[in-house]
Subunit: 347 residues, 2 copies
Amino acid sequence: MSRPLRVAHVGPVAMAMPPAGSGSVELMTSLLTEGLVRRGVDVTLFATANTTTTARLHALFPEGYVENPDMWPWELYEMLNLAAAVERAREFDVIHYQAAYYPMSLAFARLSPTPIVQTLHHSPSPAETRLWASYPEAPFVAISAEQRRLLANVNVVATVLHGIDTDAFSFRASPDDYLLFLGRFTAGKGPVEAIEVARRAGLRLILAAPANEYYEREVRPLVDGSTITYAGEVDHAGKVALLGGARALVYPVQAGEPFGLVLAEAMACGTPVAALDRGAVREVVDDGVTGGVYPDLEALVAGLPAFFALDREEVLRRAIARFGIDRMVDEYIAVYERVAGRRSSVR
Amino acid sequence: MSRPLRVAHVGPVAMAMPPAGSGSVELMTSLLTEGLVRRGVDVTLFATANTTTTARLHALFPEGYVENPDMWPWELYEMLNLAAAVERAREFDVIHYQAAYYPMSLAFARLSPTPIVQTLHHSPSPAETRLWASYPEAPFVAISAEQRRLLANVNVVATVLHGIDTDAFSFRASPDDYLLFLGRFTAGKGPVEAIEVARRAGLRLILAAPANEYYEREVRPLVDGSTITYAGEVDHAGKVALLGGARALVYPVQAGEPFGLVLAEAMACGTPVAALDRGAVREVVDDGVTGGVYPDLEALVAGLPAFFALDREEVLRRAIARFGIDRMVDEYIAVYERVAGRRSSVR
């Protein structure tokens, strides 16, 4: 019997994992870590000491820089956390770095005796990818075909869509009578467009996200407390309740995003998604099955009535099959074995 | 005969060196590099390709991130430049990193087979030094006793005051009849206090620095075009002319700074300095010889007449003896030999 795969998993050191509130990179890091451990992978998680995990925990810092503003500049803390894994490189078959902001791992690509694979979490600029392309020693994992398309000439070894903990969401067969906007209040996420959709469709809309300057300036004047209501920032239980009760999640995203975790989360409650065709939306939403993907707001509003006929149980089944944690764990194990030059043995 | 000391000198990758305008870390890096080469040290300078040097140049990037805003985030460019030196570590006796912003070199302290010594260029916070103190493998050079005082428990191997190219400044035996403020327009540098000094002393003041928001808001309303005039941003020749013509450089610094290059530059023109006693000022200015160091503005104004009796030739002599480039080069060579575990042999 071959020995278990030994993985150093380097997460952000922003906060405890799993995150209490928002923190999509932290959530994905935690879910992947726990999934790998369940599969028998020998995982050492490099994270803050207040993190909860079944993996071995290597903690340089008691807490994260989002929790402790004295930890500045945050980049140095991220670097030292990654360096701690590279210092122990010979104990691992592969180092997996979650590049929450940018792949600082490139600085170690030619120094580490163990390959460092990095998952990228944002949409890079052409100047960024030109730089990264000069480090063929650095294997990247893209989180969508949309993101991979931007990574011209970069050494991309796989595309692995995120998984979510579908058990942490509750299926609702019969929703209430509202649309939902759930996400940060930025122009790119399209909260103002979500309000326009609700008004033109003559439906209620609930907005849920932390208030910020954009909210105060652009969104709040449009909230009337009856048709358009603001639910504030919600915790996980509140999120599940709001998602499950929605007729549809409205996702009129303006900027192309490399993924969209909230789309999969809505689907895990049986709630379909009404989205604009931007970024990775088509990779997450199956048009006509788990929601609708439209070229513009006009088409989205026209398409809304069809949502009420979508089979919410089928939406849930697709969510589990496509975004269940097992699929993501399987695909990352395959990446590790390939990057480490091992034959598949763990599964 | 022993072989020459082999030094990797890692400068910022913000712009071409030596800098055309301001850039004190770039200027110091360039002066030290050229001084080391003149002394027979085998220096490889890690910098941008548009840098001018007599050392070997290892350039990853054609230009710097101040020159090309596409080079973002700048931290990654700094890291990769430093990593390039660490990748070649076995070719050097010592790696010298100019920590223009923060010592990202700590991330390589336990990975590099060659010691990395870093010069720190800012006044660190207690939280910063607590972190750095956990890396005893990382030798630091302080740029003043004032800065060293802040580096409690950090492995500080030497204090080396900056040097300047005294030949690049011109001595003026008889100045004109004005005071000079030369530096960035920030509350910490005290331009408003410099204006108060001039008014209370009944003397003209010339301000020279790039205009910015602070200038527009706080300084410009006080500029009257006769007693208080604004000369804009000056190049090196303009700086030398303004410094040489001044009765005194007024330096009513409010925030404690770890050094003050402009003080040494004034002295290299024979111009004394009227300064507040903050930060490293007492280490640069010899009270009663190259200027006056006062506890507050009141005392500074009262002390100004004494300046007109100071011997400008003596000011110049002190500048050359204390801040000539040779002293700095000597001291850094001693640091390198100590850190590399070599006996003194190069000088």
